[in-house]
Homo-oligomer: 472 residues x 4
Amino acid sequence: MSTSFRDECGVFGVFGDSEAANLTYLGLHALQHRGQEGAGIAASDGSLIRTRRGLGLVGDVFSADHLAELPGTMAIGHVRYSTAGGSSPLNVQPFTVRYRDGQVSVAHNGNLVNAVELKAELEARGSIFNTTSDTEVILHLIAGSPQSTFVNRLVDALARVSGAYSLVVMTGDTLVAVRDPMGFRPLVLGKRGDAWVVCSETCALSLIDGELVREVEPGEMVIIDADGLQSLRPFPEQPRRACIFEHIYFARPDSEVFGESVYSQRVALGRLLAEEHPVDADVVVPVPDSGIPGALGFAQRSGIQFQVGLLRSRYVGRTFIEPSQQIRDFGVKLKLSPLHGVLRGKRVVVVDDSIVRGTTSRKIVRMLRQAGAAEVHLRITAPPTTGGCYYGVDTPNREELIAHRMDVAQICAHLGADSLGYLSLEGLRTVQGAGRGGYCEACFSGDYPIAPPQVGEDEVQLPLFQGNSQEN
Amino acid sequence: MSTSFRDECGVFGVFGDSEAANLTYLGLHALQHRGQEGAGIAASDGSLIRTRRGLGLVGDVFSADHLAELPGTMAIGHVRYSTAGGSSPLNVQPFTVRYRDGQVSVAHNGNLVNAVELKAELEARGSIFNTTSDTEVILHLIAGSPQSTFVNRLVDALARVSGAYSLVVMTGDTLVAVRDPMGFRPLVLGKRGDAWVVCSETCALSLIDGELVREVEPGEMVIIDADGLQSLRPFPEQPRRACIFEHIYFARPDSEVFGESVYSQRVALGRLLAEEHPVDADVVVPVPDSGIPGALGFAQRSGIQFQVGLLRSRYVGRTFIEPSQQIRDFGVKLKLSPLHGVLRGKRVVVVDDSIVRGTTSRKIVRMLRQAGAAEVHLRITAPPTTGGCYYGVDTPNREELIAHRMDVAQICAHLGADSLGYLSLEGLRTVQGAGRGGYCEACFSGDYPIAPPQVGEDEVQLPLFQGNSQEN
Amino acid sequence: MSTSFRDECGVFGVFGDSEAANLTYLGLHALQHRGQEGAGIAASDGSLIRTRRGLGLVGDVFSADHLAELPGTMAIGHVRYSTAGGSSPLNVQPFTVRYRDGQVSVAHNGNLVNAVELKAELEARGSIFNTTSDTEVILHLIAGSPQSTFVNRLVDALARVSGAYSLVVMTGDTLVAVRDPMGFRPLVLGKRGDAWVVCSETCALSLIDGELVREVEPGEMVIIDADGLQSLRPFPEQPRRACIFEHIYFARPDSEVFGESVYSQRVALGRLLAEEHPVDADVVVPVPDSGIPGALGFAQRSGIQFQVGLLRSRYVGRTFIEPSQQIRDFGVKLKLSPLHGVLRGKRVVVVDDSIVRGTTSRKIVRMLRQAGAAEVHLRITAPPTTGGCYYGVDTPNREELIAHRMDVAQICAHLGADSLGYLSLEGLRTVQGAGRGGYCEACFSGDYPIAPPQVGEDEVQLPLFQGNSQEN
Amino acid sequence: MSTSFRDECGVFGVFGDSEAANLTYLGLHALQHRGQEGAGIAASDGSLIRTRRGLGLVGDVFSADHLAELPGTMAIGHVRYSTAGGSSPLNVQPFTVRYRDGQVSVAHNGNLVNAVELKAELEARGSIFNTTSDTEVILHLIAGSPQSTFVNRLVDALARVSGAYSLVVMTGDTLVAVRDPMGFRPLVLGKRGDAWVVCSETCALSLIDGELVREVEPGEMVIIDADGLQSLRPFPEQPRRACIFEHIYFARPDSEVFGESVYSQRVALGRLLAEEHPVDADVVVPVPDSGIPGALGFAQRSGIQFQVGLLRSRYVGRTFIEPSQQIRDFGVKLKLSPLHGVLRGKRVVVVDDSIVRGTTSRKIVRMLRQAGAAEVHLRITAPPTTGGCYYGVDTPNREELIAHRMDVAQICAHLGADSLGYLSLEGLRTVQGAGRGGYCEACFSGDYPIAPPQVGEDEVQLPLFQGNSQEN
């Protein structure tokens, strides 16, 4: 898949380790795929929360000196993909503010559906907003709550919001992890020795030699302080609606997400895809890296040989300029290059996890043909993406989604492929497992678990609050 | 004088020029002496206020590209000296926030005496604070005002605050400049062609080919929008209490401040000092740069020859490390070097504008003696500094002020000078002029126009609000 | 394989395109895997050669402005892995100097076996050396040649050197590409429209939409100027000794090197390895990225299922600090993470392309076992590495090579694997093809085509010339 | 004076102090006025010379870490103003190279008149050149000398060159300081405890608490090693021709140069100027900073009051962009601002040290008039600059010198001044002192002590050797 879909964030928190900031730094490195544009860490030494945030990769934002300036045994961290709000450092989390009871720091993964209304209400009460992030709304609600304890204030605040959130919140002495009642975004609880860890995906636990304890359950609030861990369920129970796209694309293949191995799920999707859309071909190649497990599954089931047909550059990054306008399919070539020996004269099945606008897929089909492929059969390990996401995934406007504008035959013609097969929604559900159930598939089915904002669809795709600042 | 006294800020605003951000950039360059640690510009194109801020000198924070990204015909700017709050980019102004009625941006020079109380009250109402600056209090008060127009909200907010402020505030279409009723800090109004300009000192007007119209008067609020300029006097009238230290040290000698030429005032102080503390000597030398006008005045009146006896390095800046511990008076040597030919065997009068802790003055006396001065007579163009400032000047704790702990004879002995003479408070008043009157001399007289905060004196010297963030 | 083996460089040159510097920039991006520590481009506009070089990745060294400052229709470029000479910018190529006939610029991939002797001889004649690179020796030999044309001087100079070199040399109006008589390092000739291109690997041609014409042959000197292309064979013919390690590890899989598809060769090595060292197992996993083709070949031949068992991080780079000493196998974990679902309870064949010191392989075996592998069978698609390289591959001292100190059984025990199988030297030769013949296999066989320097082996592994400079 | 004249360099060396690199760093800071575009330090620990160089101010090029990486008890350093050769880091000194006998490092202040010829001769012998600096010629001559000791090689090399040089040269164990036989550029010898120091000006000694021993005499070679200091006079004696411009403009006022106090000389020039060109006026103001001593002297002699009439900004540096084209005399306003109170309605004498092209002087005259000056009388403490310099001062082409094209009356009219007076050449000689004699005044008199190169004058104003490289 192209890079058009982006999950907004990854979060991490640790309580009870003298290397709290260092572990958070490592955890954010493991979660870097969830957000590459900014990173931040807030650490508490029991009396003061210190925060460092910056634009760039985790490794660029923090030096050893910076980490040394974040003492304490508690820390939270955040990696962020900048959606429409723009690349302002003000929008990089954690947000640390001071309110009536002292400092509070928050790292948020998700999207609030009623942020615009809440913001209007807060502004009417005299609140000021420094960022364009809906996370700031949560801080205002906490600070404005009439409740007398921090936990109750947080419950009070979250009772007001609607949407998707996996939050890690820290005061001077307490770490709280909360997942929204429908559990859209992942969040897991782990241990590393005596220290507690919370993070978006298990891969962050693996890197720091931690052990998975369990998921933070949908609707659960986990409170960790000097007295240990306490679990609350302060919200009315609701059906789980875990984001199916975490399995299809976002999560790292070595993570366990929503209790399932991401890699195994993706291989299974590829296997079922081979059943649903068989084709007579010579070779199966993935669009790397995200298409690899699906292509392996497709090859296993179909018996067609798996090969590396496209090589992904290790050096594609944001600092590379594109100096030439003379070269066809320039951008995609910087990232992917074809292996002529594998493709020449072959009937090729190419497996990807999704098609968003179709632009990249079209270039890939052309690249395969130019490399000599006799036939190009495109197989997608998910149903057509027909709708946008309001729960924390950065999708383009619905009008830009090719599957919103065209049917499969039209898409196939547009991309120039010999055949195109999407996994069926039923197939997807089969793989996810009837037993577990409870996924949000709105981007495929149009069945939105929480009604999108009343305002025009296009509008909510724009930044909720227009930007205040560009900083260096 | 050493660099121990620092004014907190300089402000600038322009309305009605298509090069608004560029002119603000130039204006801030001219005001750079009022704050060298951070700079920011906010510009409005009528619909959106864009802000860029950063740590460092104006020339380092802004590139041509950055300025091009700040379109519009209105802009405000700020240069800042970081007081105890620490060098966080979050504390660099202008602060631009969004509230009920849209965006508002503010640049503030001064200090609020009741910020701690106001902040407690605001937090009790649920406000959250992102910075450690009292400027944020003003924004909360504006946003929380029940008034229905922006100007009335601003009046409402400022009616609540007590202390020193020269403010430049901008909404999407209106520029407002306000000076507190006692007029502690300077603020002037000028024109450049059809555009209006407001700024801390006239030197910023000179650089951009603007003309001085008049001071913004103490207690005056100047409102500039498409309909032109309007002047309000919304606050009860109070006696003027302009900061005498602007004349003695802060302001640039080429500025006119509080209606007087800074340079001429300083020369006059030196003349009177020569009358009050005559001495039989061979040469008068200034501590550069701030002691130059006073030394000229002293030389003119005394008839003793003026010479350059200490050379100030042009290359002293923040990026110079101090690699050696083996050299005596190392730090001051990087900044000042003696001219042996001028000093050797001479009875030297050395003129400075103030003595704060006495550390630098002691090194200067030693440096002059090592360069061969036969006698060293120290003359100060101000009375002894015996008290701290609560109105926007960054002074050390009173206990650190040498004139709080010692009398003149003790100070002279401590510094190792042959004689020491301070200008008398009466002398200072004479020079300032009976007619104009109305200066705050609290740091010399202990007569504070507005009572300092009730909390312990030491405490208010610390950052009002403990720091939230360190950013890069 | 770990990153212990490194090829020293990649080279690129273009003649006859108005976007010469831009194309070189792209070509170097495609060759980035051959050297990640520095990059440079020299461009000639016919009268002046301009050069820009710097430490870092290609994308970091060059901005659009930099490329615009390199006008002309000819350019050469270089990417470099810093061997023992240290990361001095002085050692980054191309080297551009002025001599009797004007400017000359050179980019070199290889290693001269007699550089120490030549340098001593040149110094005895009064030469001075600015760098620690043996490339500078070539420049001195060119400048000191009694021949009267540039091409003859270059021939004269190269007749003096012994060792491996693929050189791209540029004067103000001529581009020359030369490969040493044994052809150790690769070099190909291509076209892009009317422009000629020379580069280390065909992948650079692919990126810029160029076409492969042929290899620059061992011992061939290709001269390109306004009159077209001319081929000389100025050196006595010698048997080809192409570096087998290009096929095993260095070259990009999508390149054709020495006339063969790198990817296909690697798959074939894996197939033969499965024949030579069969094992009863459940899953074949590669050490990514370089072990992937070999693992595919092993899986194809053995019928054991291929899976992704280790995930390689996309974000491992040089700016990541290692903050914690508490975590086992820390470094390798930042780079590789295991997929528990694939490995748990399984008999695992793990395929890599080489074992150098054994340090990383040992950590990988441990990582697989901790992830639950029931058995770990390590298979290497090359023979044991028993000797160092003197022809441009950066190998550790022979004493550090585990296969120099231990036999296969000892290595297997040391690594903690259940079994270990290396491809036989005969097997390797079979795959390379009897027909083509002519590979240097000295690191496996000890049969060095050119005698290593007489001085102690350890010594030549050290920098030939001790460092002059560290620059910023 | 404007910044059109620039001395090329400052040099520093220390032998026998464990903080050699730190002291050199400080010494270069004191010499920064002699070159602001690049700085470098080479330090020897007895076995290896390490070098760090970079573009920028001393404080920007070196961090504490960098200095720690330059161990040893010997070091040399250099600050450089980039003349026409361009701002390539390759041209930043010291140059450290390896030749027959090991490493040698050199820092050079001056200009060789026969560099072009020597370079041609060296190239004919096969030498290659990495830089566009004539200093590289000296290194080639050393390396090519048939002599058997380093000192004899250096003597041999310098016997070949003609022109101005003050050199500091270092091998692994020896520090050599040499001044050309005519002694164009300054060089002094000092001690700091047991360590020997050599440097361009005494101000560097003052900063590090060193003591002046004496000048390195014209034609003297001082050799310092473990056996102590030795003085040679290896060249035929010649009349001294010290650069008069060091006294007039270049040197720091607190330095003693050529045995005289720079400040006192400048005051004396101003006094004599008042005698030669008296004027009836109200106030004498300097063009800061370099015009201050002359203006003081003029005021003392004339009895006209000295005042600060133009303020020099402390914040003018290279990183300031000039965003506006709308403002008259923009550039000079960023640097200088008028004090209206001093100038308004006054007859003003403005004193500067030279007029080069006239551009800046014209803007200053206009600025003074706009500030209200009734009359503007320009006085220059030197004769008209009618010729270029070939001995290390960066002057524009003779055609650009206003005094080459116009007589005094024409210049006065062009600048818009009411009167203009230059010090006479006889007056200048009087101040320099008949006793000491021996100054080069060629830029005023046209009497060149060493014949300029035969090639066209314009040509030698261009870089001697065209640039090889632009680096980052």
